[in-house]
């Protein structure tokens, strides 16, 4: 088994792969979306390189791009950005 670490997503504690981006960690944990658009439709990572901002999430209270940030033990991630 590859190493895992523990993060909280929308308040729920989950195990995710250690060596990956926040976007990848969320997908691995079964989340297909990272945010909802103004009309409520789900959105998720698209450009993969910090351009489209679709994978933005709140990490420890601050808006960040899931594709640019490495997942870290204990991160508090909210899919409400």
């Amino acid at each position: 088994m590859p190493p895992e670490l523990c993060v909280r997503v929308d308040g729920v504690e989950i195990q995710v792969p250690a060596e990956c981006s926040v976007a990848a960690a969320l997908r691995s944990a079964g989340f297909s979306s990272t945010r909802h658009s103004l009309d409520g439709t789900p959105r998720a990572a698209c450009c993969g390189m910090g351009v489209c901002f679709e994978c933005r999430v709140r990490i420890d209270g601050v808006e960040r791009l899931g594709c640019l940030v490495r997942v870290r033990e204990g991160m508090e991630i909210s899919r409400d950005a």
Binding site: P17, E19, C20, S21, A23, A24, A25, R27, S28, S32, S33, S37, L38, D39, T41, P42, R43, A44, A45, C46, C47, G48, M49, G50, V51, C52, F53, E54, R56, V62, E63, R64, C67, L68, V69, R70
Partner: protein, 427 residues
Amino acid sequence: MRELRTEILVVGAGPAGIAAAVSAERAGARALLVDMQAEPGGQIWRGQWNKATDPAARQWLGALRASPVETRYGLRLIDLPAPGLAVFDGDSGPLRVRCERLVIAGGARERLLPFPGWTLPGVFGAGGLQVLAKNGWPVAGQRIVIAGSGPLLLAAAATLRGLGAKIVRIAEQTGWRDLAGFGAGLLRHPRKLAQAAGLARRLAGVRYRGNTWVAHADGDDRVRSVTLASGSHREQIHCDALAVGFGLLPNTDIARALGCELRDGAVWVDGHQHTSVAGVYCAGEGTGIGGVDQALAQGEIAGCAAAGRAELAGAALARRRQSDRFAANLRRHFVLRDELRRLAEPDTVLCRCENVRYGAAATCTGTREARLQLRLGMGHCQGRICGAATEFLFGWNAATPRPPLAPASLACFTATSSSENPPQDPT
């Protein structure tokens, strides 16, 4: 705000930026290399930092490790409020950098075009899914359709297949004649040809179709199928992911914010990679899409020139000339077809950030009206995605970038003046 001083600030740690910073140090200058990713390598060498498999990546990432170049990662350029001053934002808070000269090595982004279903989770850029997968996005066992245009489709397919994905189709919008022409052009570039041959081996058995493009994607909470078009023929393919990219576009926002001259959508540079603005250099894809060899050659030249030792870049000058021809070959053979301008329907989202629909945008006379009346391009990506789309669809000019160049923490704005104006207590 934390502050650093350096002689040469290099923004972007892909091949061009790494070559620029390392070359500048070799030429006797002090360089600081900054990138918004968590580690160096850019998109093409993503994931190579700790386990380089690509020979060029091994060479240059090794050279960067061994050099005294100072590096900062996870920081995005937000503002250039004065000559020689740059403000970055990142996980660890804002950072201000004072420099004497600037090398922009901001790379490229993918051109994404709207079609029904393109906002569904599971629809990516082609290079987009490739780099996501290099950073751990799970693709093993997934059925993936790749569509769009350009050699990047093949590279993406090879990477994804190598990670265990099932590539069920590659749909290239370019016709066979141009594909053959591009292939013939490769014969003049032995390294590119070797790369192409390697890709062919890694993609053996994958169905690759020319003259074929994505018509629409369908799904519920994520993509479930894609319908491909070829002439009047339609074919629906079930998939777990759809990766669609219509070629690469130079990132020019930093250069434009500084007032650098552009030509044909790319930053104009002289023989020393110097832009039209004094003390500002540009290297790599920002000067025109040309691939990794061109980026490395231009980076070396920019680094030496910014260090005041342009004569040290002699060998790179010759390599740059050869890569220039590759870039021209690429441009000539992957021209986007007209059908791609008619994929979006009136209710298809065009501006993903502000949810502006194609039909509403089509009633506007240009970027300014669409921004004011519909807020098109006014959201997080600041028009980086929809600006390229409206340029292709309607021939609109992109808006001039303004600071903040990307959404940034409020702390980036306050600390610039905190010494002059201590915050006042309202009570």
